[in-house]
């Protein structure tokens, strides 16, 4: 049984004009101690998936269909109270994009971590919780004394470490990390990711790493799911996605990031803009931007199909992957006429 399993999750946002289908039939699974990378551009629905898991959707957001199973139990069925007491933080915690804004500015970081511990473990005394916070700080390479500092007294990287301490405070089994390093410079970014990895191995925590940065996922993740237009268009183990992707979008995404091992490389972006998810109707959502789109791509929504060893692709032309990969490597392919 997987630790966390999403099955055909549909999360929509109610608008005056209709429903925005932000996550439309997302299926994912996460094993204990696994790191799953959720990749995609802004608006692809990756944050919506994370927010659905911990149920922090805005007022107009709604899980309209599908299930989210945590240890086999569908947590979309839980009452708010139940979710708050049993799941939130205790089982599933999160690391936000900007740690600096993730802490309440008027309390010390230590106070906030102590509060989180004592909310879920009522038998722990203040002093004990404080001791544990100090230990966490120590484990994460922060000076113990800094538990008494306010968030604004931390640097960006330090704050992110403190945020990780908060996320690990009650030893959750899953961490949702929403672009945890985008606000940091590359060197710090690398160290933070390293720290996360270390802690994860030590505690056996699973993680969903949400990012738009291919280089981050390739280093950190065991499996990768690529999202486009509210759907998971391709998922497989990290190596397969990086080396032998089949979906044209993944191919394009790969081109848009520099490969530091190559001598020189022209960065090629995918033309066009993300799709409008307001009741999009039938057809592949990537078709308007896809250089390989055929007639049926416009008419028929491709369904996820497994292509050997857990490699799931949602594309009508996935069988021709060899040819697509070759074509996709040529910058001309992605150039539009105008």
């Amino acid at each position: 049984m997987s630790k966390l399993e999403l099955d055909d999750l549909r999360t929509y946002y109610r608008m005056e004009e209709g429903w925005i289908e932000a996550a439309d039939g997302v299926s994912l699974s996460l094993e204990a101690n696994e790191t799953l990378g959720l990749v995609g551009e802004s608006g692809s629905g990756k944050s919506t998936v994370a927010k659905s898991i911990i149920r922090l959707l805005p007022d107009n957001g709604e899980i309209v269909d599908g299930s989210i199973r945590f240890d086999g139990e569908d947590i979309t069925e839980l009452s708010k109270r139940e979710l708050r007491r049993r799941i939130r933080w205790k089982e599933i915690s999160m690391i936000p994009q900007s740690a600096m804004n993730g802490f309440d500015p008027v309390y010390t970081v230590g106070e906030q971590i102590v509060q989180a511990i004592r909310t879920h473990e009522s038998d722990v005394s203040k002093a004990e919780a404080r001791e544990r916070t100090k230990e966490l700080f120590d484990d994460l390479g922060l000076d113990e004394e800094r538990v008494d500092d306010y968030p604004h007294q931390f640097s960006g990287g330090m704050a992110q470490r403190a945020m990780i301490a908060l996320a690990l405070a009650v030893d959750p089994s899953v961490i949702l990390a929403d672009e945890p390093t985008t606000a940091l410079d590359v060197v710090i970014q690398d160290r933070i990711l390293g720290t996360i990895k270390e802690m994860q191995d030590e505690l056996g925590t699973a993680m969903v790493l949400i990012t738009h940065d291919m280089s981050v996922v390739s280093e950190t993740c065991d499996t990768i799911a690529v999202m486009y237009g509210g759907r998971v268009v391709e998922r497989a183990d990290a190596e397969t996605i990086i080396k032998r992707p089949k979906h044209p979008y993944t191919l394009g995404l790969r081109n848009a990031f520099p490969d530091i091992t190559a001598d020189s490389q022209e960065l090629v972006s995918i033309p066009g803009s993300p799709p409008d998810l307001l009741e999009p109707g039938e057809g592949c959502r990537f078709a308007p931007r896809c250089p390989f789109a055929e007639d049926r791509c416009w008419e028929e929504t491709p369904q996820p199909e497994t292509h050997g060893d857990g490699h799931v692709v949602e594309c009508h032309r996935a069988d021709e992957a060899e040819y697509l990969r070759k074509e996709a490597n040529r910058p001309e392919t992605w150039r539009t006429d105008d």
Binding site: R84, R88, M94, G102, P105, V106, A116, T119
Partner: protein
Amino acid sequence: MGLREYVVRRIFQLVITYWAFITLLFVLFRAAPGDPTSMFVMDGMDEESRQEIIADLGLDQPLYLQYVDYMGQLLSGSFGVSFRYREPVWDVLVIKFWNTIFLMGAAVICAYVIGVLAGALLGWWRGKRAERVGIVAGLMARSSPEFWTSIIVLSVFAFWLGWLPSGGMRSIGAEMAPSFSARYLSTDFVYHLVLPVMAATIYYMATPLLLMRNTMLDVLKADFIEIKKAEGLSELTILYKHAARNSILPVVTMAAIVTGTAMGGSLVIETVFNWPGMGREMVEAINYNDYPMAMGAFFLMGSVVIIMNFVADLLYVYLDPRVEYK
């Protein structure tokens, strides 16, 4: 810079503000139209005795000497002698001042406690019907003139239900207690205090209420609120310990200003409820050209505002750890 230096600087600023304020008072009253001798002039008084009175009051001196005199008096804690009562201003004013402080102080405290708590709730209830009802109620309270609110409050609680007295500060025949505490802690006093405080609270509550709601809306969008929700904290903890606590800063700044308006605006409430306070005394002093008395009243009211600002500045240090001491 340390906390101590910050406080010392604020105190220094307080002194400068005070000096500017009392100088302005001096200039204002010298520039005001009207004849200070009118209080003393009787029919058929000749020019000579009029000059005598002016000399007596020190008004024949050049301005700078008057200014030095005036500053000297203030520094020694004297406001001079009332033209009208022929008694030291301070003796008359101090009683009225406390009457007003108890009335408006209670009202501002009630208004702030209710306004802040309810405003936080309104922000939390964003988009719900309860929020709209609250905003409409707040706007109505804010736009109704004080005398009108007072009349409504009076007609309901004093005339219709008959629960509370319609005016005055003490029941007729009640003896004025000699000691300060006995005077203001008696049930009779509190009994008379309820209605005017209620009317003023309704009026002054709206500012913190609406301001609190507005800042709450901003704070609720902050990332940390989402994290606190994800942490599994209860809604009440997030609402009051985190969201409201972060929204309170502008409301505190506003408190100094609202207290000032409340002191100045006490006149209307005092008049409707026949409350022997400073607002009424001030207007009467001006009507009678009783300059020392009016200046004394202005001085006390201004002092309340200046001191409240000072307190707000100090409170900020406690409320927001990000405040730099400069």
